[in-house]
């Protein structure tokens, strides 16, 4: 398949990407291209200009310190999955990056692209929301709770570039994913994080947008065991239903994945 014609530009810095974005309306950022190129080949996206940010050095780093793991937006999934520092600080995050797609996808896809895209079945949004991460852009810092606004939509404005995702380091955390056997995307994935001052639980894959599960958070705050969430069900009427699974099935998966995640973290 061949995309519509476009002009390709490579940015060497965030400032240059910003200038290029402003110069042409409807131009788009290209990071790993593992979502955008597929959409362009299907002709679902038709940007007249692509600004490649994947080679920007100031967007490619992992820094652990000050109680957080900060990851540059252009960092590929493979680098997060294999980082010894991430594995030590937030093992669940390294694990999550290592179960995204397949090795070739992980060699190219980036954390910034994944979070900006907010695919309902993507993995990173679960970690971002459950860990209460901060999404830093060229303009401001956005809290995870304010960032994911709906299916494929986020609080990002036109011309806004994610530069970093900063994850607070929890006491304990785990991510459990039930992958679609064909696509490897999450049918349901649950990230559980235990902090000194509370528990956060986020589910992806099951509904149109990643969401927190307050009933589970409250139950786990009292009793951090799999039994505490075993009888808590999310409302099936809010879940996705498609050829891969019904809404009831996905609602059930959320409870099962939550139980497994707590068992692993506890």
């Amino acid at each position: 398949m061949i995309t519509y014609p476009f002009t390709y530009k490579r940015a060497k810095s965030v400032a240059e990407a910003e200038t290029l974005l402003k110069a042409t309306s409807e131009s788009k950022l290209l990071a790993g291209g593992q979502t955008l190129i597929a959409a362009m080949k299907m002709r679902l996206a038709n940007p007249p200009e692509l600004i490649d940010i994947s080679g920007i050095k100031e967007l490619n780093y992992i820094r652990v310190g000050g109680g957080q793991v900060a990851i540059g937006a252009a960092t590929i999934h493979y680098d997060v999955a294999t980082s010894a520092e991430v594995a030590k600080a937030i093992p669940a995050l390294a694990h999550l990056a290592g179960v995204i797609g397949d090795p070739a996808v992980r060699h190219k896809g980036t954390i910034g692209g994944s979070v900006a895209n907010n695919d309902p079945a993507a993995d990173y949004p679960a970690a971002v929301l459950a860990l209460g991460a901060t999404i830093k852009t060229n303009k401001r810092a956005i809290k995870a709770d304010d960032f994911f606004t709906g299916m494929f939509s986020t609080a990002l404005e036109d011309g806004e570039i994610i530069t970093e995702i900063a994850f607070p380091i929890p006491e304990k955390a785990a991510y459990k994913k039930f992958a679609n056997p064909a696509s490897r995307y999450a049918m349901a994935g649950v990230f559980v994080a235990k902090f000194k001052d509370g528990i956060r639980v986020a589910a992806t894959g099951a509904a149109p947008c990643v969401f927190r599960v307050p009933e589970m958070e409250a139950a786990l705050a009292k009793n951090f065991t799999p039994d505490a969430v075993a009888n808590i069900a999310v409302d099936a009427s809010n879940m996705n239903s498609d050829l891969h699974g019904s809404a009831e099935y996905r609602a059930n998966l959320v409870t099962v994945m939550a139980k497994r995640a707590v068992a692993e973290a506890a």
Partner: protein
């Protein structure tokens, strides 16, 4: 049109391409390296896997211009001095292919996983093959071939 330069299988190449030219078409049609296949064209099957700067990537999900300045290796670049690469040998010895359509991508993926992981058990190999689809073999002999190659190659180094 944009002039793009990269090193493919050790040889420097330069060509004028449209910005929208996918790397796989650049390899197959501009360079006539038709060993890299297009199976699905939707990033799923792995028939198009090549190495870009040493890492396995799906060349159908990448533009040629993104590989500017890169070192690209395709299936044609594995054999050295008329001798098959150990992974190619192992695929032959273990009957790791039937029609052969998926094989270039399987082999490029296998070389990449052995580089990263060394000798592997069958379970690891199956997980590592998540991005490669084969319509013929049922995977059994592909896994055997990679297991065999991973042992041969790591023994040689040790």
């Amino acid at each position: 049109m944009t002039a793009v330069s990269m090193t493919v299988n050790g040889k420097p190449v330069t060509a004028d391409v449209e910005d929208r030219t996918l790397l796989v078409y650049f390899l197959r049609e501009t360079l006539r390296l038709t060993g890299t296949h297009i199976g699905c064209d939707t990033s799923q099957c792995g028939a198009c896997v090549v190495h870009v700067d040493g890492k396995a990537m799906k060349s159908c999900t990448m533009f040629a211009v993104q590989a500017e300045g890169a070192q690209v290796t395709t299936i044609e670049g594995l054999a050295k001095d008329g001798k098959l690469h150990p992974v190619q040998e192992a695929f032959r010895d273990n009957h790791g292919l039937q029609c052969g359509f998926c094989t270039p991508g399987m082999i490029m993926t296998a070389v990449d996983m052995i580089r990263r992981k060394g000798a592997m058990d069958r379970d690891t190999i199956r997980h590592e093959l998540e991005g490669n689809i084969c319509r013929c073999t049922g995977y059994h002999n592909i896994v055997s071939a990679i297991e065999d190659a991973s042992k041969r190659m790591t023994e040689k180094v040790a």
